[in-house]
């Protein structure tokens, strides 16, 4: 049977709130609503997850293919493109044969997804950055696109709440593009990173800071500090990085008000047309294929940007023939994913040392906040918006050493000091980047699949071209040698930061959601994930997604208290 963690028939009652998706935002929505005393049904398309299946302490030589399995590509040719889909954990990722989507010819898109309790929060990169009004109000500054209908001041208190609970390691920098937050002690920088920080500040005035990451540097909220074993994406036996099953979802269930239903593949929102309100959702049991309904007074979609939009598009009725909440026609449009592929790497021969297999593995890197098109830098001649860099520098084994024999064996051990940085650029919101339902394609549960149509444009290409040059100049200033440029534009989806497709706005004719993530059209349907983003900024979005979710939940709780739902 599916995992239903209450004794009563969970489908017999009407919940106050149905939350679809148990990842970073779904966990928060469930926690906030359940702890407020509301009855919550939390639906997850995958199975439950147990710490017993974590493999972060299993050496690769115990695996059949030592983590180079060619077999994964048979069932997960798309998922395998994700760095975190490994021989260790590939079953957490969707089976691509069961979960198809289509793309137009010449417009490849890689959609990397997990279906398991916690979703992508189990394997995410953990980088956590606030957005500023340079992002929320970017359109007012450069004339492109639309401002968000909310500002930094609206979200700042909720960033505080999320950061204090999650535990974000980082250093305050006072940077105009990257607001500081509630930080746990920062992780240390390596010698090469310190050198980079000093030289880059001196020559270019740019900030190099330690990454802000959802990893504990000290015991926090009942979780242990990081023990620096390295591969977070295989699970963490001390729960030191933030993932929803062992934090927010755990809290929601502990409240006694949350019913978790796993293996529930939601197909659509059920509407009561007479009242123009949702009355619940329908799902297909992943294992039995039985079709079931959950009844609720409100529905919060946190299924991941494209999955939430897919559910709305599949929820069309006579009144909403083009998808629920789509009277504006904007549903599915303005798809974004950060552009990646620009950067540089090299070697720092001036730094001595020896590679060490027993060095603690820091699950974090360095970050260089956006320095193009800032209030200080002024406008760039060739592009709008900008990019941030992630990277690192450390002594590592030299597996690329030349020669062979004993000389090669010794050279590998000797190691070399390597340094690299890669850009994450803003993806402009464009109407012609969109998703729709592919009428000829269904998933293994009979649910119509998406057709994803997205390309990066000239501005994104210019960002990555510039990122390659500025990365090289910063490496050069640090004393790097054998510098190699990378100025490509990777296919959309590679950043795994899908955003937009159900944007928020004050004008119901141009947007899907209002400022509290409520659909303009149906007052008890909400989308609380990356789908609501109006612009992408260039920072990793999960922290902002969580803060916006907590803000929207606070508003919804108030409305429940006022009996407005």
């Amino acid at each position: 049977m599916s995992g239903i963690y209450r004794l009563q028939d969970p489908l017999a009652q009407t919940y106050d709130v149905i939350v679809v998706g148990s990842g970073a935002t779904g966990g928060w929505a469930a926690k906030q609503m359940a702890e407020a005393g509301l009855k919550v049904a939390l639906l997850e398309a995958g199975r439950a997850v147990s710490p017993k299946e974590f493999t972060e302490h299993m050496p690769a030589y115990k695996l059949k293919y030592r983590d180079h399995s060619p077999e994964i590509a048979r069932t997960r040719p798309v998922q395998k493109q994700c760095y975190a889909c490994m021989e260790y954990n590939y079953e957490w990722f969707v089976n691509d044969l069961e979960n198809p989507y289509s793309t137009p010819q010449g417009k490849p898109f890689t959609w990397q997804r997990l279906r398991i309790l916690g979703g992508r929060s189990l394997v995410w990169g953990r980088q956590s950055y606030r957005m500023s009004d340079n992002d929320f109000k970017a359109a007012s500054r450069d004339g492109y696109g639309d401002d968000w209908p909310i500002s930094y001041a609206d979200v700042a208190p909720y960033y505080d709440i999320v950061e204090k609970y999650v535990g974000i390691t980082g250093a305050a920098e006072g940077n105009e593009m990257l607001p500081d937050g509630q930080f746990l002690p920062p992780m240390k920088m390596s010698c090469g990173e310190i050198l980079l920080r000093e030289r880059v500040k001196a020559k270019f005035g740019r900030t190099v800071t330690i990454g802000r990451a959802a990893v504990l540097t000290q015991n926090h909220n009942g979780r242990l500090g990081c023990h620096y074993c390295g591969p977070c994406e295989r699970g963490c036996s001390t729960f030191s990085y933030f993932s929803s099953p062992f934090t927010t979802v755990k809290d929601a269930i502990a409240s006694g008000n949350c019913t978790l239903i796993t293996n529930a593949v939601v197909s659509h929102v059920d509407m009561d047309n007479a009242t123009n309100k949702a009355r619940g959702v329908t799902y297909v049991d992943r294992l039995t294929r039985q079709v079931k309904e959950v009844k609720g007074k409100s529905v919060i979609l946190c299924a991941q940007a494209l999955e939430s939009t897919r559910i709305l598009l599949n929820s069309s009725t006579r009144e909403y023939p083009n998808g629920l909440g789509n009277s504006s026609g904007a549903l599915g449009h303005y798809l974004m994913d950060h552009v990646v592929g620009g950067g540089a790497y090299g070697k720092l021969p001036g730094l001595k040392g020896k590679a060490d297999a027993n060095e603690p593995q820091r699950p974090n890197g360095i970050y260089i906040p956006r320095f193009r098109n800032t209030p200080t830098s002024g406008k760039h001649a060739r592009f709008i918006r900008g990019y941030g860099f992630q990277g690192g520098a450390d002594m590592d084994f030299n597996f690329g050493a030349e020669g062979y024999g004993t000389q090669f064996k010794n050279a590998v051990k000797e190691g070399e000091y390597q340094i690299s940085m890669g850009g994450f650029g803003e993806s402009l919101a464009r109407w012609d980047n969109f998703v729709e339902i592919d009428k000829d394609l269904k998933d293994a549960w009979g649910i119509p699949a998406l057709r994803i149509s997205m390309t990066h444009g000239e501005n994104e290409a210019a960002l990555m071209e510039d990122a390659a040059v500025t990365a090289a100049e910063m490496l050069e200033a640090t004393g790097a040698r054998e510098i190699k440029l990378q100025a490509s534009v990777e296919m959309p989806g590679m950043a795994i930061h899908e955003l937009g497709t159900a944007r928020m706005g004050t004008d119901a004719k141009k947007s899907v959601l209002n400022t509290f993530n409520q659909t303009h059209d149906v007052k008890n349907v909400f989308v609380m994930d990356g789908a609501s983003f109006v612009s992408s900024a260039c920072q990793n979005p999960t922290l902002s997604m969580m803060a916006i979710t907590v803000r929207a939940c606070a508003n919804l709780i108030d409305r429940f208290k006022k009996s407005e739902v």
């Binding site: 299946e53 974590f54 493999t55 302490h57 050496p59 690769a60 030589y61 115990k62 695996l63 059949k64 293919y65 030592r66 983590d67 180079h68 060619p70 077999e71 994964i72 069932t75 021989e87 260790y88 954990n89 079953e91 069961e98 240390k188 010698c191 990173e193 310190i194 000093e198 023990h227 620096y228 197909s267 059920d270 329908t282 297909v284 294929r289 039985q290 079709v291 309904e293 929820s315 730094l351 060490d356 297999a357 027993n358 603690p360 820091r362 084994f397 597996f399 030349e402 020669g403 062979y404 024999g405 004993t406 090669f408 064996k409 590998v412 051990k413 549960w445 009979g446 649910i447 119509p448």
Partner: protein, 206 residues
């Protein structure tokens, strides 16, 4: 989407499912647990040392050639080398599961080595004297430079490309096995305390 449509397609999907292995089954999983072998605790580290091992993909000559080559590229020193670490068996295992183009690439590179050996010595690589094997590998192991007299650029060097490809396959196999991890100095522990980072005085890196 209408519930009726979903029931219809769901029922159809159920009927199809009954005719084939259950969805969610891992490519190598014995049961429908939704766990990878690693997550199930399977330890495959001794599989390749099983007595009576035979190659699944390579033929006998290719396998023996690979053993000789791997022993030259990563020899035993005060630690075991690639031959003792059975890297040929691991490479054979991976190749057997690889796509045809990857299989072909490896066989081509191994074939190139034998071709060069035949061209120079009229003998397959595995049967050469040790000095001859070294001579041949030295000719392939380093990238060609252009002319120091005319300034003419070096032409493409397929020999070096084939050598590097084989070397990287062997190195990956070796450094991912237990002997390789020990060669790098790993003590077998997974946590080594907090990351200390740079401990030098501020401004000391000039």
């Amino acid at each position: 989407m209408k519930r009726r449509e979903l029931l219809k397609t769901g029922a159809f999907a159920g009927a199809v499912a009954a005719l084939r292995p259950p969805f969610g089954q891992g490519q190598d999983a014995k049961s429908n647990t939704g766990l990878t072998p690693a997550q199930s605790g399977v330890d495959a580290s001794n599989d390749l040392a099983a007595p009576g091992w035979k190659p699944k993909f390579l033929d006998e000559h290719q396998n023996e050639t690979l053993i000789v080559l791997s022993d030259l590229i990563i020899p035993a020193t005060d630690t075991p080398g690639a031959k003792e670490a059975l890297v040929n068996r691991y490479i054979d295992l991976v190749l057997a599961a690889e796509k045809p183009e990857a299989q072909k690439a490896f066989v081509n590179s191994l074939g190139f080595l034998d071709g060069e050996s035949m061209r120079r010595y009229k003998t397959a690589f595995r049967y050469l004297k040790r000095e001859e094997q070294d001579d041949l590998l030295h000719a392939l192991a380093y990238a060609k430079a252009g002319s120091g007299w005319t300034g003419e650029a070096a032409t493409a060097d397929p020999g070096h490309t084939h050598f590097e490809f084989l070397k990287q396959q062997i190195a990956r196999a070796y450094y991912s096995c237990e002997a390789g991890e020990k060669e790098l100095g790993w003590d077998g522990a997974f946590a080594h305390g907090p990351y200390k980072g740079c401990e030098h005085a501020e401004g000391s890196h000039k």
